[in-house]
Amino acid sequence: MPHPLHTALVVLLPLAGFVLLGLFGKRFGSKAGLVGVLVLALTTIFASMTAGGYFFSNGTVSGVFRPLKDLSFTWLAFSPNIKIEIGTLLDPISAMMIVVVSFVSLMVHLFSLGYMKGEERLHAYYAYLSLFTFSMLGLVLSSNIFQIYMFWELVGVSSYLLIGFYFQKPSAVAAAKKAFIVTRFADLGFLIGILVLSYYAETLDFGTLIQRLTDTQSSYSVGITAGSFMGISALTWGLVLVFAGGAGKSAMFPLHIWLPDAMEGPTPVSALIHAATMVVAGVFLVARLFPLYAFNEVALKVVTMTGLISAMFAAVIACTQTDIKRVLAYSTMSQIGYMMFALGLGAKGEYGLGYTASLFHLFTHAFFKSLLFLGAGAIIHLVHSNDMKDMGGLRKFMPITHISFLVACLAIAGIPPFAGFFSKEEILSTAYHDSFIFYLLLLLTSGLTAFYMFRLYFSIFWRREAHLHGHHGEGTMTMKLPLIVLMLCAVLAGFVPFGHFVSYNGQPLEMHVDLLFSIAPVLIALAGIGLAGWLYKSENDRPHSLATAMGGFYQAAYRKFYIDELYLFVTKKILFNLVGRPAAWIDRHIVNGAMNGLASVTGSISSAIKGLQSGKLQQYILYFFAGIALLTLLLIYRFASMPV
């Protein structure tokens, strides 16, 4: 039986690691990495103990999982109604998330030992990693919506620090700023959403909030559905705005523009933040408030459509990119689109299959996507380039990376028996039960997924004979070990009976793989792989002629459908000219003018009267006596007549 304090330790240990490395990091020198790994190993152990204890001993009441609020204390009490608590909330999704986050983080810490070797600011790197892990664990364990917002922003800050880690590079600085500003912009929606929801529910606590707003008899629920703005109910507004925050962090269309640029950070960072943890925070947030979303048709529709559009949009772009990390970034966006889509359909169908499917995909995706990123890290470490043009035939030089990368590609393509197959099956089956069009679109996307992943695979490891001279091998043991461990996870994670642990209503959900149903997705994935193999396995001019045949569409996809240009147009041309410039004019002429005018009036008055202070003693005496004489006259002629 785990002690409640273990849950707190899961969050506090990485914080301690951050403080230790942040303050005394320089003293550890090259040992800073070991300290980081050690702290994270402890965290992972505590997280596993907590989650294990929750799932197998103290989480269930007669077979149904219930939320467990172990720790809670009031932090700020504004009024009897509004008080902000800090606490931990354990339920199936947060228990699942702490294991995933701490485990992937541990792998990344370990991998970084080799990858970042010789880095001068190693201690800062590990301090930032610890800060990020702390914020992410705090986020998933938050017991109320305000606390989650605080950790949400902390995650944003640490992501900013890590993306901009190579701050000597202007592109890294720009990418960090872009990531921070775009997600911050989305968080504005989140904040307004929080205010709307908590204003009507008069509480910030997740459990109470959901209970009050979903009970149609209660005055809270009546209030929020009656209150409306622009013809849309306050509940819908609140939920859509909260989702906007989630969409920003999860890089959903059209707030995805920061994710590809964020690849400027060190590659292990991308594996941690932009594959497994931070970008799924949006999915987690919607899942956390899911009973509320399930209550509102419109909000669910928004979630579903955003997910679907992002999944397809990103998959198309991923087929054209040549930077391997950008391909992976778009693939992440596409996979998160899958999760959002399934989550949006989670309230329908048999016992909320979509909900479980979405979180199952989150779970398996975390392993194979971080494996892909770490593999890409190992490749970049060897080749010193991000571009697939510089690669090819690497399978002989890095056998372990090759095998693990292949496994991860098979997993993401949805080939049985690898992890991605099982979770994608559930999502496709959710889509199939909802609408045939959605199903076809997702099927197409999953074919595209297989195609672009194997385009990546063949371009890196086959295509041509490589002649590397004086290379330093595949990497240290600390780089190979995480690849092997994650490869095992990518093979085995699909066999976890996920529905038993995580489901919409806490009751075990039996998930079954229907073999007949699997035929179409697997066939289309194989077709994608076959096409990729035909185009990219050996050097030929087929890809080029295909791209030429596609013409404008290929160009548009290669240029990411001009979304970045659109943003630049809106900000630079419209916002800067219509808002920025007038505001600057007002500041320069009216605000500054008023202040300068005040200063010059004061100045001229004082220079006019400064002659009084002449330094001549006798003048002062004269003023003094004149003053006294004046006072005396006043006393005699003005006040003497008054009755005392």
Partner: protein, 104 residues
């Protein structure tokens, strides 16, 4: 005792006061200015003694004040002369017009 009425004495002290004022405002020599201050103080002393004598003959407060003022005037003279000596050391002069650096 009906020799001198109070008004005369007040006239005397007023004359003394304004003599002192005149000296204080017109003389440039600081020693002379100090002497003028003494004149002003003494005019006040006369007032005190006179009012005490004519209005409250049974009491002595006015006289006490006079004694105090004389004592304080002595102390003030000591301080003032010290200042004047220092001024002379720095400016080679005790003309008040020469010491006008403390201005805007």
């Amino acid at each position: 005792m009906n020799a001198v009425p109070l008004t005369h004495i007040i006239l005397l002290s007023t004359a003394l006061f304004f003599t002192g004022m005149y000296g204080l405002l017109t003389r440039r020599n600081m020693i002379t200015m100090l002497m003028s201050v003494e004149l002003i103080l003494n005019s006040v002393n006369i007032n005190f003694v006179a009012f005490n004598k004519y209005l409250y003959p049974k009491q002595l407060e006015g006289v006490f004040f006079t004694v105090f003022i004389i004592a304080i005037a002595a102390a003030e003279a000591a301080v003032a002369i010290a200042i004047i000596i220092n001024l002379y050391r720095t400016h080679q002069s005790i003309d008040v017009e020469d010491a006008s650096e403390l201005k805007y």
